[in-house]
């Protein structure tokens, strides 16, 4: 992966200029990254400290007057509890909060597709590889310039979702989480690095509002089976009914929106989906 084909090595030299889409060849990175390592990038201490206004300037007007273009409620379709963070100033209107998280967003294909579909919902892509997250940042920046008024609701952060989700999101903040074509980690010794594990599902359930949905898809049959059974065995997740699946407009995007998905489609590979919803805890 990412062999010695590259000619120019610095993204700055050949990357995007303002308003121009970045070229992927300058942002190739190794496909795998050990998520269990100590991270050496800045991580917010808690959700209160995430610079959301820098990520979504269109949704955070610089004046704290409640002339907010959209009420926060319209971006929360379900009865998710209002986040309790950001109680620092006496702003009467709850600031908008991220509702969709694309974990391991890669080159950002899904985010770019979702952005016009849910123009009032803030979405955050999370990617561990610095070059790739930098590419997505450039891509979103270029799209915002090329399409004024659009793509203001998507952003990306270099982060490790296995370790730092609670540093970014308060309890029950998210309504959708995406895990598209995650690293399969075939070796049994490395199964603990998989993004869907029984223990980590507790943290995803913490971030998801009741009724929030968790989408997974993979082209690896073994991993698809692993993710489905892990989700089935977890008491806080339930599979979507066929009616719910049919009514969900996002489901159709899972297969082909991302770069990895397009590659699978080109190779006529099989995909395995597992879509679950967060249910309340009963002991």
């Amino acid at each position: 992966m990412g062999g010695g084909k590259r000619k120019g090595r610095s993204p700055e030299a050949g990357g995007s200029t303002e308003g121009k889409l970045p070229q992927k060849k300058f942002y190739r990175a190794r496909a795998h990254s050990n998520p269990l390592n100590d991270s050496h990038f800045p991580v917010p201490l808690s959700p209160t400290y995430v610079p959301w206004s820098a990520h979504f300037p269109a949704f955070f007007p610089s004046t704290p007057v409640p002339a907010v273009p959209l009420p926060a409620s319209c971006s929360t379709p379900t009865s998710s509890p209002a986040p309790t963070a950001a109680s620092s100033s006496g702003v009467p209107v709850e600031p908008p909060a991220v509702r969709f998280a694309d974990v391991g967003c890669g080159f950002g294909g899904l985010l770019v597709k979702l952005a016009p579909l849910y123009p009032d919902t803030l979405m955050l892509g999370m990617e561990l590889r610095d070059k790739v997250s930098e590419y997505v940042r450039e891509r979103i920046g270029a799209l915002r310039v090329a399409h004024p008024g659009q793509y203001g609701n998507v952003s990306v952060m270099r982060s490790n979702a296995m370790k730092y989700l609670p540093n970014l999101f308060v309890k029950g903040q998210l309504t959708k989480m995406f895990f598209l074509f995650p690293d399969p980690h075939f070796k049994e010794k490395n199964h603990r690095r998989r993004i869907i594990t029984h223990a980590l599902l507790a943290e995803y359930a913490y971030c998801l509002a009741p009724g929030g949905r968790l989408y997974t898809i993979t082209d690896v049959a073994e991993l698809g089976e692993w993710m489905r059974t892990t989700l089935e065995q977890h008491p806080l997740f339930q599979p979507l009914t066929p009616e719910e699946l049919a009514a969900d407009p996002v489901v159709a995007l899972l297969d082909t929106s991302s770069e990895e998905g397009q590659k699978v489609e080109r190779n006529q590979g099989q995909t395995h989906r597992a879509i679950f919803k967060r249910v309340a805890y009963s002991d």
């Binding site: 990412g2 010695g4 190794r30 795998h32 990254s33 050990n34 998520p35 269990l36 390592n37 100590d38 991270s39 050496h40 990038f41 800045p42 991580v43 917010p44 201490l45 808690s46 400290y49 309790t84 561990l128 590889r129 610095d130 296995m162 370790k163 609670p166 540093n167 309890k171 603990r192 029984h198 223990a199 980590l200 599902l201 507790a202 943290e203 359930a205 913490y206 977890h234 008491p235 806080l236 805890y281 002991d283």
Partner: protein, 484 residues
Amino acid sequence: MGDEDAPPATAGPSDKQKRPSYFNPKPPAIVPALIACHPHAPIVVVAIGAALRVLNYETGEALLLSDATIPRRHREAIRAIAFHPSGALFASGGDDKLVKVWDTATWTCRKTVSGPKKISSVVFSADARWLCFSDKYGIVHVTSTGGPGDAVDSAEAGIKQLLAHCSSIITSLAMSPDGRFIASADRDYKLRVSVFPATPLAGAPEIQSFCLGHTSYLTAALFLPGGLLVSAGGDGTLRLWQPQMGELLQTLRLAGEQEIAPVESVMSLDEGDSASESSGRAIVALALAPDGVSLAAALEGCSEVVFVHMVGEPPALVVAQRLSLGGRAPPTSLAFDAGGRVWRVAGAVQEIETGDAVVTEEALAAKEAAAAAAAASAAVQVELLQRRETGVSARERSAEPVGHGAGEEAASAAAVYEVGELPGGSAAQGVLEGSQADAQAAAEAAKAATEAMRNLLGKRMYTEAEKIDRKRNRNDQKPPRGKS
């Protein structure tokens, strides 16, 4: 970037001298001595290395342990000990991955289970039916305590995963007094509060809250009788939390600058934190008094014990006394006994690391013997800090109370502690300290132990030069060979 698994392929044997510091061999594991007191009876336990030393301090008599379970003894150093709040049960867990549940009426071992990784912390459930223990990979396991009322069938006797942090050493576990919550503190600055389920063998999937605010690894967490949570960290702070919401109520800095930077916005693992991690002293030990409002804390490398009280409404922690130990060994562990006195222990043992290679019976026996010998020859110092009942002299308060306006009041109302005599005299001292009661050696061992803790729990800091060098040596970015 996540490629630390294998050393760079380009680094051949000839490069060994030039290898940067991150290839240095692992520092030796030095395990501090631990102390715990029975909540009601006059019994104190010191764990040093693989040995447990139990003393009835009223009679001065050493209590002998009897263990018919397999394996019969800890084979490596004990890392965690805890009494159940009732005092009926005691648990020990160590680097040999074994966890033992002891019946304190007879000091017989009720049950031994083996975890998959080295044990880092143990705690009993409020109803004493379950023992939770955490390991170095960040998993909290649960097992039944094997009481006579329990059905100890094969399923119940084993261990089950209760919850897990992602690849992070769990440094402390705490159970809320009402038994509703279990708190787990890790080295990734996180304190997680989970709902403790009615059927723990099925796991604890519901997270009540995350208590985020520490700017370094956590070293201890405990619940106060009223349900609030106190945590101590490598950043030298005690923090008071409302565990239901994970709300930070107060930060009390015991070491480092008194004033906290206005916004500790980012836990930068690269440079920003190096200041706080190296200059700030970690809190290495924290103990709660039976009155439920006094806490005693020990700071890394500091020959003093800090007494903290909870006062007022809304409750706040204030420093009541900084008791200097006058150059004696810095404590590695603290415990309040039933009478409200504080026992402090200083000492450590260096681990003989054999890994998992040992399999034969003889090798295991040799390992046990070596661990016992290491424990017997370890330097340990035990001391008692007792209340000064009358005549609070200003001289005794070696440092004035620090904190809010209420601090002065709290300090004058609170008991003042001083170094006291060990009950039971030299015989008792011999039981707990062993043959090597060398204060100097104990001080050195305690210092090495805190150093080892920092190595174990702190994040590695890379200099800019190291980072550049690392990037250059990455095996996935080799420049195309054979081409110009």
